[in-house]
Amino acid sequence: MGRTRLTGRVAAICLMSALTMFCLAACERADTNKEPKTGVAAFYDGRHIRWIIPYSPGGGYDEYARLISPYLEKYTGARVDIYNMPGAGGLRGTNELIGAPKTGLTIGSLNGSAMVVNELAGMRGADYKISEFVFLGRIVSDTRVLVVSLDSGYETFEEIWQAGEEVKIGATGLGGSTYVDAVIANVAFDLQLNVIHGFDSSSVLRQAMLRGDIIGSWGSWGSAQDAVDEGRHKIVLQSGVERMADLADVPTAFEMVEKTADPEYTRAILTAWESLHAVGRPVAVPPGTPPDRVQFLREAFAKALHDPELLAKAQASGRPISYASGEEMTKLVINATQLPDDIKQAFIGAVKGEL
């Protein structure tokens, strides 16, 4: 009796799953019948693309990928699976990408600016050069900003300039981007700021600013935005040549050039610094991926990043997009890695903490 009931139940489950599978298969067929695809598009249709994110879920890189992936699905016809692989400052995920099968089914976000800096300084651990990657395009370029706490009493960059040595600004680890920014700015403008490094993350830096331990720190515009909106911090300087639309009343580093003792040198340093930021956050495939698939992915990526719906969402969630094509990215990377010798030495010194 018990046995028959069990058999009956198993049969029912089998039947139901068979029905479900049939329905799914039918749906899929109906879908493909709509527009028959040929060539590369047929290859991608219904396949899974693995998108490697070298950082944890919930972070900026992850959010961008999750924002963009539905649109990438829309224009490739493939399913996009986000694969977080944090560790070693992005190195683990990047190594995974370079070692992935060259089928065009694995793509990855890169922390471009940090990769260039590490390469300049000859950091160990990566067995590739950033220029080896084949770029699909750039999601966003870096805009770096100098943030100070409102309670610090400093309101403009000029005031900080005149303040001298007793002013402390914070940074994460030696060689981290907030540290490199601080030291490079010190070199470019001949600032005497005391850079205290060793803070864990941008959020710990914020706490230290609120406590008054430090007056401010460098950081990405994305992470500074919230704190500024809350009205506790103020941005006094932004990197770049022209002012960003969202930061129309904040001077750029280049606007300060004429006020320095040696404008030419300052401009050279800032230009190199800017080429670094231009690399930003690209998406790439491993070298050796078939060219027709690269071409297809590049086009899909371009369409996705120009989709008005995506742009509206990005705007609403405070995640700006500044697209650059794969070809442009290759040039930007070359531009950033081939610096004039004296400028390069200054950068290496900054990264290694020798300045």
């Binding site: 879920p57 919930g58 070693a88 160990r124 651990g125 402390k168 060793g198 959020s203 406590r211």
Partner: protein, 508 residues
Amino acid sequence: MGIIEGLSSGFLQAVSLDVFPFLFAGAVFGLLIGVIPGLSGHFAMAMIIPFLYSMEPAPGIAFLLGAHSTVAQGGGLTAIFFSTPGTGQNAATLFDGPPMRDKGLGAMAAGAALTACFLGATFGAVALALLLPGLQRIVLFFGPPEIFVLALLALTFVAVLGKEDIIRSLIAALAGLLLAMIGLDNVTNQERFTFGLIELRDGLELVPVILGLFAVAEMFELWVKGGSLTGTQTKILSAKETQKQIFQGVAEAFKHWWLVVRCSSIGAAMGLIPGLGSAPAAFVAYGHAKQSSKSPEEFGKGNIEGVIGSEAANDAVEGGALASTIAFGVPGSSSMAILLGALFILGQETGPIMLTQHVDVIFVMLFTIIIGNLIGMIGGMFLVNPLSRAVGVRASILVPVLLVIVFTGAFAVQRSLFDIGVALFFGIVGYLMNQLGYSRAALLIGFVLGFTVEKNLYLAVQLSGTDFIFDPIPLTLATITLLFLAYNVWTIIRDRRQAKTTRSEQQE
């Protein structure tokens, strides 16, 4: 929005039909994740993140925090029945949970642990609600100098935990400090003890280390010993008796309400401080329970106070950890960092904006923690019976099955094969330590706090020179640390002298 208004609105939202199903699903999901060794709250939250993109704020928060809040309850069950911490923060439950199981009181320990978790979480949430008006000022008290001294204070609890054999405990704690040094140094950016492996660059991951030290080591021991986890002395209880024991355990937790309050305060206070995390909180609470107990010699041999103390602190941490996240968007733990990312996805802003305009969202979080833990407590009770039966399975079957689960847990944290090796290595280390009488808890405390101590000491000295120790808060805390240490050293000497005199009396 006023606090009262926010409170009622938050409560109504949490129990509304739009939100409660998600809260329930999250809480059950978290409980199951917690039962599986190695999968922690942080993992449960990461799995939920992709769903949030299409959700409204309140259900999204309830789903996410509901899962996070019950993980420790599930983990406590695994700790008691399988001598394997379900999550990192349940490691302290291992001292008295499994010995109770061996006495045939496993279900009672489980009932007490589940209830203590619920009470602790409620305490933590209420504490946070009471702190709300002055929250921002309170969080700002803790900078590098204060965190440094507090971490040092937490380190001295090694003295309480390892009183029986202070030399071996010190060796273990110092070995833990040494292990904490592995990885990229925050300050100089130099690699230390990484042997050129990029897998070691971020240091050893906490979860595989805990799984190795406790779970894998326990499996080795069981494997060597044979038989089953319960040994031969106890028979499997009937479902009815199990039920009776669970309710006895619940009653015990309420009976020790004063202990629950004290341990919850420790948990909530330590949660408040960014970077301390919940694993040390449970150990410190355990140490406190032992210190203040009438029968400290029974600790480690199946004293229910040990289970209640550490589990209460476990979940009280959440209320505290939420505080710094809400007040300034400064996450106190990796789970809170994920929560912060999730809040951003859900379009919520932390800081003054949330404190003044979205108080209801804060209360949705608080009620999620309380209701989630209540669901976890009731749901957990249903798991006690099957789990307590599985314990009787003989080692040759149980060990391979549990090892597969444990290694999967170790892998899942970072999708790293290397971490399986880490778990295996620390399994051997843990087994040897246990055989030779070294305290694994002391090693773990050293490991967890080592980096915090070092990093904050450096920052404190950089910011205000060595004089920072004379600032009011650090000075007070440092004095407490010294007094605490002195008292414990004194009791150790006294006990030793007493032991000596009784021994010589016996010889006469």
